[in-house]
């Protein structure tokens, strides 16, 4: 199979959908003439023209709201946030408008749109550029939240997100855009809300999503060397969450470690932990463990980055602890 970059997979999803449906447009800072801050939309201005690939001023609240209004009136906008850190100045339009409109109007105005861009830390970018808001958006009914971990999923999930008739938050990573992976030439879709068992195993379940899946998989490889068999699940979507897949896995392995780039309080791992104690309490042979980021903003120095983020070592240690080894 051919191998392409994560950013190319996203671009293919966008371009394929835009070729099919003239109501889809892409809007954001530097998406057109600059070819995208991270080159996701490279070449798209040439193909689709300025009407459909729209450069905006630096005004996230304004253009997010304009896109929601366009969605109310029949278009299917894709809004790129240069990072989700900047989405905070637009969050009123995401939470109070996009997520509420369908119910508030008694089912008259659905909002078929995507807000997408990179989430999380990406090296020494310091506190304001190193935040993960997956759990914030996942908390809000009316939204769907997708966090792909590899090029294949990115393409199939973005196509589903664009075709979805509800607002979808689609969260990527600066550190993944260059990742390469197998992506077939032929069209495929991946449904929103279905987790992927990346690796079958019997001793312990490791759940993660997005960029941190790499840490989870690396830890599983490391543990395999010590004959510890990990089942690794990629949630792929954090609203809705595919609880059934996680519960079934824990009923088999009896142990769970959740790995996530997020502050610990009210994180996705907290939610998974609740659902597991509720639905698989009698199957658990050890308390559920979570590896999150430090409960601090991320400072600049390299020592902080290492301390802050989930790492293979931290996951290996937690897995051994739930196995009492």
């Amino acid at each position: 199979m051919r191998v392409i970059q994560f950013r190319e997979a996203l671009r293919e999803a966008l371009s394929e959908e835009m070729r099919k449906d003239p109501n889809i447009f892409l809007m954001g800072e530097e998406v057109a003439e600059y070819n995208g801050a991270y080159k996701v939309s490279q070449g798209m201005l040439d193909e689709f023209g300025a009407k459909r690939v729209i450069d905006t001023p630096i005004a996230e609240l304004g253009f997010a709201g304009i896109a929601v209004g366009a969605a109310m009136n029949g278009l299917r906008p894709v809004v790129e946030f240069m990072t989700f850190n900047f989405s905070l100045v637009a969050i009123d339009q995401v939470i109070n408008a996009a997520a509420k409109m369908y119910q508030m109007s008694g089912g008259q105005f659905n909002i078929p749109m995507v807000f997408r861009g990179p989430t999380g830390s990406a090296g020494q970018l310091a506190a304001q550029h190193s935040q993960a808001f997956e759990n914030w958006y996942a908390n809000c009914p009316g939204l769907k939240v997708v966090v792909p971990s590899n090029p294949y999923d990115a393409k199939g999930l973005l196509k589903s997100a664009i075709r979805d008739n509800d607002p979808v938050i689609f969260m990527e990573s600066e550190q993944m855009y260059g990742d390469k992976g197998e992506v077939p030439e032929e069209e495929y879709m991946i449904p929103i809300g279905v987790a992927d068992i990346k690796k079958s195993g019997t001793d312990v379940t490791i759940v993660s999503f997005g960029k941190i899946m790499k840490v989870a998989l690396a830890a599983a490889d490391e543990l395999a060397k010590e004959d510890i068999s990990c089942e690794v699940i990629d949630l792929r979507t954090v609203r809705p969450i595919d609880y059934a897949t996680v519960i079934a896995s824990v009923k088999k392995t009896n142990r769970l470690v959740v790995v996530e780039e997020a502050w610990p309080l009210a994180s996705i791992s907290t939610e998974i932990t609740y659902m597991i104690q509720k639905n698989a309490f009698d199957y658990l042979d050890a308390p559920v463990r979570r590896i999150t980021t430090a409960d601090t903003p991320l400072g600049y120095a390299p020592t902080f980055v290492q301390e802050f983020l989930p790492s293979t070592e931290k996951v290996v240690k937690a897995v051994k602890e739930v196995l009492y080894r």
Binding site: G62, F63, G65, G69, M72, Y102, N110, G142
Partner: protein, 331 residues
Amino acid sequence: MAQNKFTKENYLNWYKQMLLMRRFEEKSAQLYGQQKIKGFCHLYIGQEAVVAGTMSALRKDDRIITAYRDHAHALACGISANAVMAELFGKATGCSKGKGGSMHMFSKAHNFFGGHGIVGGQIPLGAGIAMADQYRGGDQVTVCYMGDGAVRQGALHETFNMAMLWKLPVIFVCENNGYAMGTSVERTTNVMDIHKIGEAYEMPNAAVDGMQPETVHEAIAAAAERARKGDGPTFLEIRTYRYRGHSMSDPAKYRTKEEVEAYKKKDPLEIVKQTILDKKYANEKWLDEVEAEIENEVNESVTFAENSPYPEAQALFEDVYSEPNYPFITE
């Protein structure tokens, strides 16, 4: 004088429309007192000429969006008194199926894009609605209303900039009733002429007397023509006054009785009525008939709302997602 441009029909329609708004809301206030209507309830009484003068200048397929003081806008768009009253009661037959209430009237069929509850939040939405029409090559115009409080929000400035940059077919209407809840305009700004905010973006702008439908109609008609020609947005500061408090719970102690009484002397309903009589467009008998007709329409809407069912509790889970089988977390 402008009045010569308007026909008998204009005046009779304005009168009927404004009387319906007025009587409907007087009844709403009464029902709020009886706790039949709950939640927040913001009355439009005094400001009727703004909506009446707008609607007569627009086409049926033009779009309307406003903030939470939205009952009159909904009625003027053609949503029935029954559907608006039922929404105030929270009934399943309301124009938003009982899910929106006073602040969130909607009707896609009437091109009414809703009442919105976050001050200024509707401003970018209005520009976006207009953008979609421009994108499709349509010649509809969007009128986006806001209060004098909303112009202080950053959303307005971001939207004005892009609306001008892209020449969006939108008319921004600031219904300046002098008070953002309890805070008078002069306590919020150094720029007393709100319409001048448009200057920063080179957006055509004007102050308009909002106590008579004629002046409003003229300003809106000119702005709509400009928008349809592709010349972009306009910002109109329409000066008006609300006789009641900000919401039903507001005793409006921040302004004097004399100020309120002075505005009531300029009451748009009374002035239009006087014009109708002066010009002999209709007689007292016609006015009485209209009064009775509207009283009947309003009373009927109350009966309709009273007799309508509340939405089933389980309907809480409907219309959150358009996907029919969304897996809500239930425990």
